[in-house]
Subunit: 403 residues, 4 copies
């Protein structure tokens, strides 16, 4: 089973296929962390980010809590105290360690967390071999949620490591500079006409989807145009050089306040944007800015300001979904849609009920996927979301305009 | 012309009718401020609120800037420095005094602001008598915007005064307790069926509307039910007594964080909610809680938590508008809709372009109107908006649920 | 009895002399407030400052609490709620209104506070006429404390009004510009030799003194020199122009952090220090900087940095007292001494025990007196004190150096 | 040469004795860090604390900067970037990494820092073998300062590790619980009479002392009494149980504000003080509170409040020094003296000028020494200092009173 198909494991798969999918996703997390020292994995660089070790432990706790405890009679947690340490935000599951203090957990050590992962992985394998047919389907559904959850944290692990390394004056790289992708060729932006009218949005069919992707429902759209690709670094640089960060006319009110309070004058991780040789800090270390590459690490505020400056706007999430642009493979794309519940929204049952529903206020939807997203993780109906001021994700934008 | 019709003054009205409408709205502001001393009018009780004097001066500056300067050749401002002091948030009109420092402006005095109002009122009258026919229509449109703007500030003046008086341990009243409305009779909540389907929302026709109310456009709605009245204080008290403020399961994530950070345990201005004799601080001073009265001074977070606890939800702004509930006359009703631009949204032209558009992020729509809203100010398409944590407005809620 | 002698009223004075002293001090407060509108008197410009109205009411409450209640049998407070509103910091006297919220008290009105003053003044007169001989001495001592207390607030009233007016972009003046003192003649600084050796410091004799001025005790001093006058604005300007605010070598560690956090680059109320025409905002409005005048509105940090730059240091409070420089009449002079208790320190008895003792940490002593100090209020042993970062007082410095 | 004598190495020692002293101090740092994982050594638990790795690197940079660069011709730093990363607060030595971000430095790794230490240690040995006689004395003086500096960081390393471990819900111990000292026998407090009079304080003689210990000078003291031992945990518990943390009468004004803002109700690291079985978190993990042991981890505010409650006071630093109590060996003892310069104070020459002088404001002197202080580090004239709110040091108190 190729990696890219893993995360869609349906419960109809035979047991060994499920186990293989599980192993593939779980080992990928370890592969991502492998180049990092225990010190790198332990530190938290800001309250919004989590230590790598925490990601590795939290996703493991998720399998213990959502799969092993409900479906494996007599299962005893590896360490009862981990429920307190590695619960992220599930109020129904009891008190938990405060998020901004995750980086203080020098114990359990990275080594102990690796052992924790191994113990839980073994238990999952035992479960898959022993669970009776009657419960297999339900257990596999819970397992599938756990795998998609782990994939989300794989991306977060990379965004959080990037932030940590960026804070170090030594500017260390996660990966060898030599492995960085080659510079691209820039192509002129083309506008793709979209007819509008009635479109059905939201997840349909049997495959896995998060609760916030449903239910599918019809919406009415006016005719519009969507750009054939995200905005490039070179284009965003023109906005900067035109004084874009200093001109309030392009900005939402909260955005302008944020720009001034934070002193923003370029996307996160850019340096020397006002010189002839701007650079960008990346997982491969600092690199000359690739002008043809999609701009990333911009907030919704910056995305909307750029769009206004360019005489365009951001698409709504339904305009994006209806047009179904080719998998972007580069950046998450900010839309102009609040992360609101779809009509008839039903949260996941049980402990996972808090997965998405309680974040349906103050968050903005991003669509697409990024270089940091695990292969096979996203769908056209996928609704990623972050607050409008967030910049440490691989977030960019695509333009839309009225017809 | 009855007061309630004033604010819809169309430019086709004869000059004297426009002048009468202008006088009616302007004098109402002074009537509201009349019971207050100069001290009461000068102080700012929190950054979100403004002094009464500032409201009186700002609305006057608005007429100077949006009407007199464009339409009255050779007009010279009463005081050139007022543009700096009394601009609220118009970046295009130059630098301005910081909002949290409005309460430091003991000069100009209340008396000088009253003279400022008089001078501008006189100039508007001169303009209405002298402007030539060709420009009258356009000038009247600008004047109409100024009147609706002033009416918005009339409501804010009351909400801000209420907050100021509530901060005083002496618990002073704006109006005599004897003038307070009599207690109501509670009626059981009834659910009104709504068919859903395609509905056209947004402002149509010739009357005045703010830019964020258009353009009108069709939306698709599922069948739903809407309550026949807002939630009452007695009903909200049951939520409190059921531990509603201490149970995270009812709350949005940001709401729960806010409840704990701010120590909320009842709506703003309530006291002794945990006793047999809860009270509410009002413009008439402290009063026993009227259980039949709509609950007010709740945030979106509290409104949504109550709705979840009650097994219902908040309506979207389109569900509200399509059902067109009878003018509520009591409280603004939180909807579950972000203050997003309508498809094809066009801001006002000129200096008023910043009126609403730049607040289309981080704000939630309220529909209806309140006891503090000037008569004739609202429409079924009216979109009021505040951040989800705001409580000092006359904000309550109405329940909806799926059919 | 001339005003300058009033505040030292000993209990041996006849009753009418005490009453005259009382009236003189009390009416001076009203004279200071007279040019201000009720709005000016109500607003609080920062947490460290208090509204004028609050000063007028607090000093009145002090007489009620420290004089009328203990010495006038059956005395009933003018308004029982004022004890909550106008207690400054006396924990032993019960809960009190929070300091940063003093500016929210639009009620009681200025007019009511003036009536409060009149009622208490009348009661004090009645007390002075009726108290029996046996208790007169003790009552007069309490009254004397109240008068010195009121004089302290007379100075604070001016410093706080200056701060309030300085925050107003209209730059209003408390007093007519024409009344401002004429520019001075600068004289070269001369060093006065001081022999050092054993010196007795602290208050002796029968006159009034605050508790922190005693007991008198001997100290040992090395020989030193003290400047014959405070540092002038022109001299301080030379420090600024030499980059003094940008060079860490002159600064205490906390001072350097404060300079950078607050963006200080000149004394408070200075403007255009980097031009040929620097100005200073004063109680007479903005004025060209008088280079010969003592520099004022500097923090201890700035005073110490200037002294280091000038190759000198600040005197200790004992060096200052032993040298007894001529009454400065211009600025309070920062010393290099913490506001620590003298050996054998005894706080005032009773409710006044909190007067000074609990502020003996984190405060630095200033000696001298200022243009804002009421005549007759200070003594050579007087210990004024403020935190090292305070700048809104009339605070300057005098240089010392080792011999 | 016994360890306890090492730190006083005078330049007259032969080269090999100096080298031995150097090795002894340097290896002690590594011994302290040895039980800690690389993760433990990398994390920073609060802005006031530093990571263990940072302490190990900073002290090494100090030798490079203060000894190798001035005295070893042609010396090239191990890594030129370390001057930026590991400078603590020396403004004259150029820009530096911000203190609160020290915990983000996952690189250089612990392993690299150990190599850094080894390289610098080798270079110091080469220097000691090669420096000519003429410069040896001066180099040895600089080296001696570096050794005393490293000893200060040895204590900080322990206090900072204790704080880090205390933040971990797993409550890990640095050292085996079995190694914890046995419970003590409590002895009744005895008062030792002190005659007062003239006393000479400050450092005299040839041995090493920090610049803030001089010059020696006479002071006048009143007769007083000093307790024969520090206040014990049991005695402090009585203060708590008498409501000491809830009664403002015992507290300095800033102390009372801090108690309420921070919610303090017991010394740092105490738990369950309101139960019959209070515990204390220590370097050996959580332990039952030893009632006979000196109380530690109290702020100056708590020390002064306890003393007031006990009808006593804290001694001044000169009262402490004149009485010369037996080496306490347990806790640093807060005095009632600000960390002010002695008359005629001269900072160290050169780059070390910033060592103590710029911290002579806002700091309070502690005398004595603690269980965490390296043997041989302290003297009767030693002036340790911290802000009055600091609690994470091994800080306790000894009572004094007037005779």
């Amino acid at each position: 089973m190729p990696y890219s198909a893993i995360a869609t494991v349906p419960s109809a798969e035979p047991r060994h296929a499920i186990a293989a999918a599980f192993d593939a996703v779980r080992s990928h997390s370890c592969t991502l962390a492998a180049p990092l020292s225990d010190e790198d994995q332990c530190v938290q660089s800001m309250p919004d980010a989590s230590p790598v070790k925490w990601h590795l432990a939290h996703t493991t706790w998720f399998f213990e809590t959502m799969v092993l405890q409900p479906f494996m009679p007599g299962y005893r947690p590896v360490d009862a105290r981990y429920a307190f340490l590695f619960n992220s935000y599930y109020e129904a599951l009891g008190p938990r360690h405060p998020r901004p203090a995750r980086g203080l957990l020098t114990r359990p050590s990275c080594q102990e967390v690796r052992q924790y992962r191994e113990a839980v992985d073994n238990a999952i394998h035992r479960l898959l071999h022993t669970v009776d047919e009657a419960m297999l389907a339900e257990a596999a559904r819970a397992l599938t949620l756990g795998l998609h959850h782990e994939q989300q944290h794989q991306e977060l692990l990379l965004t959080d490591v990037l932030h940590l390394l960026s804070q170090n004056p030594l500017q260390p790289a996660l990966r060898p500079p030599a492995d960085a992708p080659a510079a691209r060729r820039w192509t002129p932006l083309r506008w793709l006409d979209q007819p509008g009218g009635e479109a059905v949005v939201g997840h349909r069919g049997d495959g896995f989807a998060f609760d916030n992707e449903g239910p599918a429902h019809p919406v009415l759209l006016r005719p519009y145009q969507l750009a054939d690709r995200p905005v490039s670094c070179g284009e965003f640089l023109a906005f900067i050089r035109d004084g874009g960060y200093r001109n309030p006319q392009w900005w939402l009110s909260d955005g302008w306040a944020t720009v001034n309070a934070q002193g923003w004058n370029a996307p996160l991780y850019w340096a020397d944007a006002d010189t002839a040789e701007p650079t960008q800090f990346t997982l491969h270390g600092p690199r000359p800015l690739d002008l043809a590459e999609p701009v990333r690490h911009v907030s919704l505020y910056e995305a909307a300001a750029y769009a206004a400056w360019a005489g365009a706007r951001l698409p709504t999430e339904f305009e994006w979904e209806a047009a179904a642009p080719p998998a972007t493979g580069d950046v998450w794309e900010w839309t102009r849609s609040a992360h609101d519940p779809y009509p008839g929204f039903q949260p996941f049952a049980g402990a996972a009920a808090e997965y998405n529903g309680k974040f349906m206020m103050g968050q903005v939807v991003l669509r697409g996927g990024s270089v940091a997203t695990p292969p096979g993780h996203v769908r056209p109906t996928y609704r990623n979301f972050f607050p409008p001021s967030a910049r440490w994700q691989f977030s960019g934008l695509r333009l839309a305009r009225n017809l």
